[in-house]
Amino acid sequence: MTAGLPTPLRAAFPFAAAAALLAGSALLYAASWSRIGPAPGEELLYFPSGVFVRQASLGFETAAADAAWLRAIQYYGEHRLTDQKFQRIDHVMAVVTDLDPAFESAYVFGAFVLAQELRRPEEGLALLTKGRHANPESWRLAFETGFLHYVCRHDYAAASSCFVQASRLPGHPDYVERFAAFASQRSGNRDLAVLLWKRVLATGNRYMQEVAKRELARLEAPEAL
């Protein structure tokens, strides 16, 4: 096939053929996969359970948890920009936390999305409870549980109790004690909700900060006063 070509071209032919075939496969994928692949909302339908992935990860559970975490963020980010449907976030966060039970950010972010974005606070609290069972010394998870009780469920007594618990756990920052004191004095107070959202604005990830800005704008609007 290359017999009539000059030597340099003949030598380059296999590389050119390989490059052309690779480009062809990429073009085919780009043109057809969106039609043939999973429909939007179905992409995590076959995401395996955490127990299975844990077995299959062969001792690399935390690296597998990170891969699942990155997938969860991608899933959330994509749907947040489009149809606001991230119904499978509970499943993928369950997988992440099954693989790495000490991954606090996964509990916090998963619970936040479930409670605040999907209006499923009980499921958010269940995820945080799972985290608190696995990490009983975590002030952060106790504090976030209080946050959800206060902001999403308006259960001020439970929130106050959680803030107090968080203030008794090792490594807590000073503001946890202030919230514990403030919550017991001013249950249901709008100012405390504003302070809690400001705390999310200061410490949360960029998605949580966006929600915090929205909630702060709502709480500080004249009709909310």
Partner: protein, 255 residues
């Protein structure tokens, strides 16, 4: 002892000749990719992602290097007939085997330590604190490599490179499922099956002993008792494998 050291030195040279540094290049590029591309997407968990992938990659690649290089280490000597020249000297077969084991382990250990050091430096350069806790993970992985190297040397003492690689991978895989094997074998199975699974359970290497990555990535240091236990287990299990390999190798017909 000097005879074992001489064989080990030679094996180490042989390992270096296989261009193992290319593994380091691959690892470095992969880790830099993770750090540049994935870490910013991890919503504040970038350091954890880099450390996780760094430790997992270092452990997996060093295990792979031991399997790939180790499975053909003895076979090459037989194939090239260089073993006859060695055996003509006043050296016992077991010493030859121990030297091969030591050389392979030292080569893989150096590779592993460099990869983990690269991970720590990358984390430091990206603005994080130096993750001192990786020291514990490194020591455990070094102990794990003692067992992996022992398994490779054991199988290579009596079988072909391909089968050595296959049996080693299968043993390591089964080692990760040892607890499940015991569970299924002792829950509702017949007495014979229960006895067999229990036997397999104690025979297989319990590699979970050496896995502290889940602690280390969350900043928890590996306890001294865990390190001592892992070192003792690796020494005993690795020693048992070497003794068995030496026993088989002593009886092996090189013709």
């Amino acid at each position: 002892m000097t005879r074992v050291a001489a064989i080990a030195k030679n094996t180490l040279r042989e390992v270096a000749r296989e261009r193992v540094f290319l593994v380091l290049v691959l690892f470095g590029l992969g880790l830099a990719g993770v750090s540049l591309v994935l870490a910013p997407l991890a919503l504040g968990e970038g350091s954890k992602v880099v450390l996780d992938f760094g430790l997992a990659g270092a452990s997996a690649l060093s295990t792979l290097v031991v399997i790939v290089l180790g499975s053909s280490l003895l076979h090459k000597e037989l194939d090239r007939r260089t073993i006859y020249a060695v055996m003509a000297k006043p050296i016992r077969r077991s010493e030859f085997l121990f030297g091969k084991y030591a050389g392979l382990w030292i080569g893989a250990a150096a590779l592993l330590a460099t990869m983990i050091a690269l991970t720590a430096v990358l984390l430091l350069l990206s603005g994080g604190a130096f993750p001192w806790t990786v020291g514990g993970a490194l020591l455990l992985s070094l102990a794990e490599l003692m067992i992996v190297t022992g398994v490779v040397v054991f199988f290579s003492s009596f079988t072909t490179p391909l089968l050595t690689a296959f049996f080693t991978a299968a043993t390591l895989l089964a080692g990760h499922f040892a607890e499940d094997l015991l569970y299924f074998g002792t829950h509702g199975a017949s007495r014979l099956l229960a006895a067999l699974t229990q036997g397999a359970y104690w025979l297989l290497p319990h590699l979970e002993v050496f896995n502290a990555r889940g602690l280390v990535v969350h900043g928890v240091a590996v306890g001294q008792d865990r390190l001592l236990f892992a070192a003792a287990y690796a020494a005993l299990y690795g020693g048992a494998l070497l003794a068995a390999a030496a026993a088989v190798f002593e009886r092996r017909d090189f013709k």
